[in-house]
């Protein structure tokens, strides 16, 4: 694993892609060249100390020297970040966490994403060898709140699920996953990689255990240091041996390794 580096990125562009959903392109050549799918940056949101902590954000699609952060405005930190404009700088620490290691011998790889959870998996989609079979599921509230640009959405072969039925499958992503899995021929050995709201992850885990399908999840929990020093980002291990640290041991875990059922996820 590459040790974390510090980089002051330069904002190139900042777009509100749908209400309260922002996509910032940042020139950060060192980070852009070493980051791999699944890793995140710890982002300073204020020059002062209120809010005090950095915000962890997945590193989104990378093009040349430019990486993207795509995020929902949730509170003060993301609000400040959304106020950054072209020419502003952003203090980044990264790449943090382990890259997603897609185990061999599975096919198709099913990306199960909900809302903003699409971000870390876009970069995996880009970096995974073209020949690997994949299914990209993305769940949204409605056709009006999609977490990527139209051209990106077209580029990827996305199976949509929407709560209100306005885009693709009418229902939640776990139901759509079930349909997808049911439609696979018996010789397929699917693997699910999921990122999204806690409810989706729990539903997915239950389904995958029932069907004996291996699955990985990318987790979001509050963080202090982001580099494994403070133990703020604990998730309970399923073997009863205490906790994993999301920033150091994750953010992507095999579902069977963690107690997703009882983990407190924001």
């Amino acid at each position: 694993m590459i040790p974390p580096i510090a980089e002051i990125g330069l904002v190139r562009e900042s777009i509100e892609i749908s209400p309260n959903l922002w996509d910032i392109s940042i020139e950060a050549p060192r980070l852009a060249s070493v980051t791999r799918a699944g890793q995140f940056a710890h982002v300073r949101v204020s020059a002062g100390f209120d809010p005090f902590l950095r915000r962890p954000l997945s590193i989104g699609p990378i093009a040349g020297d430019v990486l993207r952060l795509i995020f929902h405005i949730r509170g003060e930190g993301t609000r400040l970040l959304a106020a950054k404009r072209s020419g502003d700088t952003i203090d980044l620490i990264g790449p943090l966490g382990h890259p997603i290691n897609v185990p061999k011998g599975h096919n198709p790889i099913i990306f199960l994403t909900g809302g903003i959870g699409v971000v870390p998996l876009q970069i995996l989609d880009d970096q995974m060898p073209k020949e690997r079979e994949r299914v990209f599921i993305l769940g949204v509230r409605s056709a009006f709140t999609i977490p990527l640009s139209l051209s990106e959405a077209m580029q990827r072969n996305i199976l949509w699920a929407s709560d209100d039925g306005s885009l693709g499958y009418h229902g939640n992503t776990v139901q759509l996953l079930k349909n997808v899995v049911d439609g696979l021929s018996a010789d397929k050995k699917p693997l699910v990689i999921a990122c999204g709201p806690a409810g989706m992850l729990r539903g997915m885990k239950k389904f995958c255990i029932e069907r004996n399908i291996p699955s990985l999840v990318s987790l979001e929990v509050p963080m202090g240091c982001g580099v494994g020093a403070c133990q703020s980002c604990a998730v309970p291990r399923s073997d009863g041996k205490g906790y994993y640290l999301v920033c150091k041991d994750g953010p992507v875990f095999d579902c069977l390794d963690i107690l997703l059922e009882t983990a407190s996820l924001p």
């Binding site: 510090a6 005090f52 950095r54 620490i93 202090g224 240091c225 133990q231 924001p266």
Partner: protein
Amino acid sequence: MTTDFNVAMSGLNFRTPLLTGSGTFGYGDEFLSLIDYAPFGGIVTKSLSVRPRPGNPPPRICETPGGGVINSIGLANPGVEAFLAEKAGILPVKETKVFLSIFGETVEEFVTVMSRLETLEGISGYELNLSCPNVKQGGISIGGDSSAIAETVRECRNITDKFIAVKLTPHHTQVAPLAEAAAKNGASALTMINTLVGMMIDVETRMPLLGTVTGGYSGLPLKPVALAKVWQASKAVDIPIWASGGIVNGLDCIEFLLAGATGLQLGSVLFADPYSPGRILEEMDDYCRRHGVKSVEELIGALEKP
């Protein structure tokens, strides 16, 4: 920089007064690729206990308006044996002075951990955590009782000649008896202060923001409390004081020096700004130049009478 940052404390020379706050810098290796350790006079590692401690149920950290942080880590650590086997090798003893923080629920546990750690090379000393708000026993309760402090420090002093800092809680009505108990029984320094007990609630979900409901409150809001305790402790005893609480910039450090601190611990600030040690020295240097201060030692306890 033109200021002399050297400070002498209880027989040790520190190249700067800057230290880390226990628990905010792990065992000292996590930041090696990110920052230069030269600005640190020393680092204090995460508190170690006899047995491994998994720590508290998450969530373990939240923020408060006004620049506060509340944590409920619960002294998660691998235990002294696993530490010796797996982590001791990573201590940055080449880069800076290292002080190992120890936590115990009883006097015996402090002694047990320290005697095991005495086998290590290159360690400058210890910090006794008598003040963790995140555990039911030991820590804050030993730390509120001057005879328990006296006994703990005395027993630890019996088994080491190294530097011993004793870290106290702000949750006491009078600091003098506690500070004297530590100083008279062999403490080399006092660390003032550990976190306050704090709590936050999400009114929408009606849930506390921490898995343990309450936690340790650090960051900007702690500074006025830490300053008061540093000042009171420095009046009560002659041993050096390590300040801990809300330091984020060079002027905070000047305030603590004036109030009587000799060491300055950077805690939560390292999460937001791991590069702060270098910046803070520059800010202190700038102040010292503007005020004709040649050595930071001139500032220690130099508060003017009101």
